[in-house]
Amino acid sequence: MNMRVDPMPTTPALPRRPAGPTPWRRFYYGIFGGDALGLAGTAMLAALLAIAIVGPWLVTHDPLLTTPQTLLPPTAEHWLGTDHFGRDVFSRTITSLRIDFIVAGLGVSGAILIGSLLGLVCGYVGGWFDDLVMRGVDIVQSFPLLLIAMVLILVMGPGLESIVIVTVLINIPIYARVIRGETLSRKTLEYIDAARCSGASEMSILFRHLMPNTLSPIIVHGSLNLAAAVGNVAALSFLGVGIRPPTPDLGVMVAEGTNYLVQGAWWMSIGPGLVLALTIFSLNLLGDCLEGRLDPRRTEA
């Protein structure tokens, strides 16, 4: 048998790295993790927010001003035509977007604030307080959202404040549940015991040690929830219990437009409808992107 010495295997070459990071690459991969849809959603949302913010300087007409020129199709004067009262649809759409963002934003922020606080205290204290609050949350969640919202608004009377309050109320359960769960899983960890041994008061344990560690899921839930809230406000307005005419609202405008669709006045609904869809779509894209980026279990290597 002839002896044969195998040559030493050479060290396999490292896979060639992609070219050095350009600013674009750093932005795209570093912030969005290569998620094109997330980037698209963020860009769209940023554009819509910008439009909403500079809205008052962008409008071409007074959104509430009625004129005799009713149901005009889109022209150079009225970019999206006019409605049945002769109001400029473009100006009304932009004003609506602003109002809807404010209402949904306030509602979701309020829900985050109250819901997180309730969840935190429930998870930490437990006992009858936890049972009481969680059964309340169960009750709220057991009704169809729109139904409970409509009843509440009928009780409180219509108005922007009522819609904000209702948005807060129907979204509290989401945050209360999520934060309660986070609190439950963290309150038995050693650093909480260590803080207690360091002589930390219950308040300090709750707000300095537990709370900052339970808040990360809120970002994801918040963006997805904001999409739902914008839709809900529009839906309530569409059903006639939300924002009342003549205050412009995307839902109201779509609802009014449907009455004139048969007459061929398609421009009354299409503008506000598209803006509404884009808003919800972009918020959902952003939410999905955030979920993937912030939850380490879902990130692909």
């Binding site: 050693e190 650093y191 015991d193 260590a194 041994c197 360091s198 002589g199 008061s201 300095r208 040690h209």
Partner: protein, 336 residues
């Protein structure tokens, strides 16, 4: 001894029942009594689930005992109101086992440790930084580590921070609950050396909980061996770990790996711990003890041997009255 012990535990009981299996023996701590003197390092060894950690958590007041007394510096923990308990926690501190979760992930080391100084007023305001640098040197941390967050530190560094936090309270006793078992062997050795040097320098008493015989042998002057919530043997480490009397201790030591194995037969326990085999009121080791006999159906008395060596075994009780101890000759076995 004239000075009263730093920690005095009397008949401490804390049991956890399994509601799905009510016939099984409850696990936890059952009627444990011991003292820790000032400046002493006492080891507590035993297998997983024997109640070591529960005992440690009760001692620092993180768990309320079902029964019994824990007296620290002449103060009974049970007599303290919640408000006084908060300030009293200064006296006894704990270092936990798992370095991943022992630090608040959203707090820098400095903020985390400063809280202890603030709450107990151990350092005058404005001097925290200087004191912290001192402590960091003591536990072998670099000064830069103070401004880092836990995820920027290695496991060994985090454990050093945990020790630093305990020291910042200036306690009279630190419970170390397996502080090195989650670390790499090389890091383990460094942390152990730090702990030993530290203890010599600061003079704080340690209650060192571990399942590692070698670690306890290295650091402790006195050792307690626990099995199923009961201390079965207790005494100076060189005696307990050198010439163990209780069959369980012998088996535990024989199971620990050593470089030069001892010649001759090794005493070992039978099978694994099965809670259902342990009857109430009997010696907890009986079901697995190679030398069990009929008398073990009643719990053995604690026999006092010379030099503070105490053993809870009938064989030791016999030997103490009959003459020299001969452990290696098993008495007549009773078939079970």
């Amino acid at each position: 001894m004239t000075a009263s012990p730093v920690l005095s535990v009397r008949k401490l009981t804390k049991l956890f029942g399994d509601r799905t299996r009510p016939e099984a023996v409850n696990v936890g701590v059952r009627g444990v009594s011991f003292d820790v003197e000032g400046g002493e390092v006492v080891g507590l060894i035993g297998e997983s689930g024997c109640g070591k950690t529960t005992l440690g958590r009760c001692v620092v007041g993180l768990q309320k005992p079902d029964d019994g007394h824990i007296v620290i510096n002449d103060t009974d923990l049970a007599s303290l109101s919640p408000a006084r308990m908060r300030t009293f926690r200064k006296a006894v501190q704990i270092v936990f086992q798992r370095p991943e979760t022992c630090l608040n992930p959203r707090m820098s080391v400095f903020t985390f440790v400063k809280q202890a100084m603030r709450n107990f007023d151990t350092v005058p305001r404005g001097h925290e930084r200087a004191r912290m640098i001192e402590l960091a040197q003591l536990v072998g941390l670099k000064e830069e580590a103070l401004d880092r967050f836990p995820h920027q530190l290695s496991g060994g560094e985090r454990q050093r921070v945990a020790i630093m936090r305990a020291l910042a309270c200036e306690p009279s006793l630190i419970v170390l609950d397996e502080p090195t078992s989650a670390l790499d062997v090389s890091v383990q050795a460094q942390v152990l050396r730090t702990l030993k040097d530290l203890q010599r320098e600061v003079g704080t008493s340690f209650l060192f909980i571990s399942h590692d015989v070698a670690v306890v042998r290295y650091i402790c002057s006195r050792v307690m061996v626990m099995y199923l919530g009961v201390i079965v043997e207790e005494g100076p480490s060189e005696i307990v770990l050198g010439h163990p009397v209780h069959p369980y201790t012998q088996a535990l030591l024989a199971a620990a790996p050593r470089i030069t194995p001892k010649p001759g037969p090794h005493p070992s326990l039978k099978g694994e711990l099965v809670l259902a085999d342990v009857g109430p009121g009997e010696c907890p080791v009986r079901a697995r003890c190679p030398m069990a006999h009929e008398r073990c159906r009643t719990a053995p008395p604690v026999t006092q041997l010379p030099e503070g060596h105490r053993v809870a075994c009938w064989l030791a009780a016999d030997a103490a009255t009959d003459g020299p101890i001969s452990i290696q000759t098993p008495s007549k076995k009773v078939p079970q």
